[in-house]
């Protein structure tokens, strides 16, 4: 995408992360009564591309440019567990849900502002 939209692209990437995270949290809440279930969470981690070009000469080599933008992080909580070994803390999940939703809405609002600015620049009104 051109330079003109690079800021919106950045915001979009973050917004999509929060939408994904909400799905994961929904899964945790759905499994609040499943025995042995351990909650999962996502972690946002931007990998900076290396400048030096590395070549893979063997299939066993680790990929030099991992395209990972969203890191999946399985949390090992020390929450209290009931008799069914379930580690979901429903209050914590609901708090994370609210947080992610607010972040998502904020990012979308910023995207709207960016688009409005572009429209203003194009049309002059």
């Amino acid at each position: 995408m051109s330079e003109l939209f690079s800021h919106i692209d950045n915001l979009e990437e973050k917004a999509s992360f929060f939408l994904q995270r909400v799905k994961v949290i929904q899964g945790n809440i759905a499994n609040a009564d499943t025995p042995f279930y351990q909650p999962v969470d996502l972690k946002f981690e931007k990998i900076v591309r290396q400048q030096i070009k590395l070549r893979k000469t063997d299939p066993k080599h680790i990929d030099p440019f991992p395209e990972v933008k969203v890191k999946i992080d399985e949390i090992k909580t020390k929450n209290f567990t009931g008799y069914d070994q379930n580690r979901v803390n429903i209050e914590e999940e609901l708090a994370k849900l609210a947080e992610s939703s607010i972040m998502y809405k904020t990012l979308l609002e910023s995207m709207k502002k960016e688009l409005a600015k572009l429209k203003y620049a194009i049309s002059g009104r």
Binding site: V22, K23, N31, T34, V40, L94, L108
Partner: protein, 136 residues
Amino acid sequence: MIFRGLEVSVTGMAAQRIRIDVASSNLANVNSTRAENGQPYRRKVPVFKAILDKESGIPVYQVRVSKIVADPSPYKMKYDPKHPDAGSDGYVRLPNVDPLREMVDMMSAIRTYEANLTAFNTHKDMLLKSLELIRV
């Protein structure tokens, strides 16, 4: 698919509703001395299972009720020689249902159902919010 997140919360709500149904059936049969095979009613328990939603690429777990099993705990005994189902010793075998436990189970299911509904509505609001982008 765009609505996959909503689906996850729906599975959560459906599972909790089954839990309420099972608890209601246990409560209704608290005095049933004759059920299947002529034996007294046995308390039923739903078994939940987490299922990884493979299509989404991120660890999203749906929930399913994999089976409904009978509670193997012993029947309650009550001395009542005039009851038609009383044994030769005068004792009647009553279902292994504890009404208090069923009530607690039901309340817990309602709360979790509500939490799933909150998650559903949050996700729905987020999707509706993204629609605003085309109105710029």
